[in-house]
């Protein structure tokens, strides 16, 4: 009931590979959120239970007389979900998926990264073992040699598929910020990044939860590196770079796999 399928997808629109499911218990979300999320919310586990688990549990006879997550908590409120709470859930999901599904086997493989409250940088750097696992190869159809040490990783939560896709598009810009800033020190990471997106409810017609691991890879890394180098040399035009990265069918997006 609490197991959520995990699917690896190439970029925004490429191939998909299912990699099983993760069972997320409220207290596990609570601790992950306390460690990695940005908003100070206590009892996140209970929020998770009411926001996400609720509606997906059977009404066991044993607890029918008790007000619980199974019933009637799912429908006995007029209040909306708080964005900072769903944001916290989103920020904690990537770390759990990395540990359980992508073999981030040492704790130090997960490095929370936010470096500024103003700049939109990715939530984490992460090391997977191996760095380009079978599921990535299967979804992307490639097996590139990975020479960088850590993937930049952004973590998101959204109510439905369509909202999730928009948040992954904005997360791509956060990866772009990382590539731009790191291109001089770590050119090999340019074009590579992960966005973990947790769809926690789905729509009325398709009420399915899932976690998608979007794997971004360059289709022409040299061109992307040169594009960044030219913009840095000219006028340090990061804004222009990110604007173009966010524009569908732009030249810069053409240097990435499965984005348009």
């Amino acid at each position: 009931m609490t197991a959520i399928p995990v699917i690896v997808r190439s970029g925004l629109s490429g191939g998909e590979t299912p990699i099983g499911s993760v069972r997320l218990l409220p207290h596990e979300i609570g601790i992950a959120s306390a460690m990695f999320s940005s908003t100070y919310i206590l009892h996140m586990g209970m929020h998770y239970e009411r926001y996400v688990v609720s509606g997906y549990l059977p009404q066991f006879n044993a607890v029918q007389s008790i007000y619980s997550t199974a019933i009637p908590a799912a429908n006995a409120t007029t209040k909306t979900r708080a964005q900072s709470v769903t944001g916290n859930i989103g920020e904690s999901i990537a770390a759990l998926v990395a540990r359980r599904k992508l073999n981030a086997r040492r704790l130090a493989d997960i490095q929370p990264l936010s470096v500024s409250s103003k700049k939109k940088t990715p939530d984490f750097r992460m090391k997977f073992r191996p760095m380009f696992p079978w599921s990535f190869q299967n979804a992307t159809g490639i097996n590139p040699p990975i020479t960088f040490d850590f993937w930049p990783v952004e973590s998101k939560a959204a109510q439905s598929d369509s909202v999730a896709l928009n948040s992954v598009k904005s997360a791509l810009l956060q990866l772009g910020t990382y590539w731009y800033e790191r291109s001089y020190h770590e050119p090999d990471v340019v074009g590579f990044g992960i966005v973990v997106s947790f769809i926690y409810r789905g729509t009325k017609n398709d009420p399915k939860r899932c976690i998608r691991v979007h794997v971004f890879c360059p289709s022409n890394q040299t061109a992307l590196q040169n594009e960044i180098a030219d913009r840095i040399a000219a006028s340090d035009d990061r804004t222009g770079f990110l604007t173009e990265l966010g524009t569908e069918n732009s030249a810069i997006r053409g240097y990435l796999r499965d984005v348009d």
């Binding site: 099983g20 601790i31 359980r100 130090a108 997960i110 490095q111």
Partner: protein
């Protein structure tokens, strides 16, 4: 800008991970020390915070500023209220005898206390989870740990095809959660995927008579895990 820490004996990645564990537990003195060790004499400008040469140094510096901001905010309020600003007595840090674990006790109410414990030696990660799984007496917990392989050395296995290939249909979870009780205290113990556990204990029969009684209870638990 100096990033000498990456060449020193300490591994900044491990220190950075431990810093987050200590902060989560409320072990503020240790968190502060770890942050100082990561940063050394480094002080980054706001501009170079945006990643600099080493993102971990930049992230650590950002966290130092966040904590400093909170500290200043707290001190200003204390001053306005005519209260002492510094910690007169920080919370007691409990350490296991073997030295792999540490934790801080948090008061929830007069009969309920929460112990937040974390691994201080990341090389002991695998044993940490095995011990907790053993105490939980749950066969499922052991089976799930086998799949997760937390803290296991990788090397040759890592170079071969990864285990994800065998996990296509696998439901993964940690599921280490159990209860312990004696004549006066009931404890609910829950492990996380991030080298921590928390124990919430209720003194259901009689209120604890002293802070020492509470600390002794949790210290015993700590040593049971790290025996």
């Amino acid at each position: 800008m100096s990033t000498d820490i990456s060449q020193s004996e300490t591994d900044p990645s491990d220190h950075y991970a431990l810093f987050h564990l200590a902060l989560w537990a409320g072990d503020i003195l240790t968190a502060d020390r770890l942050l100082s060790e990561i940063l050394g004499s480094t002080r980054l400008s706001s501009k170079s915070l945006e990643f600099a040469e080493d993102p971990i140094i930049a992230a650590a510096e950002h966290r130092r500023r966040q904590l400093q901001y909170r500290d200043t905010e707290y001190n200003s309020l204390c001053q306005a209220a005519g209260l002492p600003t510094a910690f007169s007595k920080p919370p007691k840090r409990l350490e296991s005898k073997q030295g792999h674990l540490a934790g801080i006790v948090h008061c929830i109410d007069e009969r309920t206390f929460e112990f937040r414990c974390y691994l201080t030696d990341l090389d002991w990660e695998s044993s940490f989870y095995s011990q907790l799984a053993s105490m939980s007496k749950s066969r499922t917990a052991f089976l799930e740990l086998e799949h997760l392989e937390y803290g296991l050395k990788l090397e040759a296995k890592d170079l071969a095809q990864d285990t994800a290939e065998t996990q296509v249909e696998l439901e993964t979870g940690l599921g280490i959660r159990f209860y312990q009780s004696d004549e006066n205290v009931l404890s609910n113990i829950q492990a996380s995927d991030f080298c921590t556990f928390q124990a919430q204990s209720i003194w259901f029969s009689q209120q604890p008579e002293s802070a020492d009684e509470i600390l002794f209870h949790f210290e015993a638990l700590l040593n049971e895990i790290d025996e």
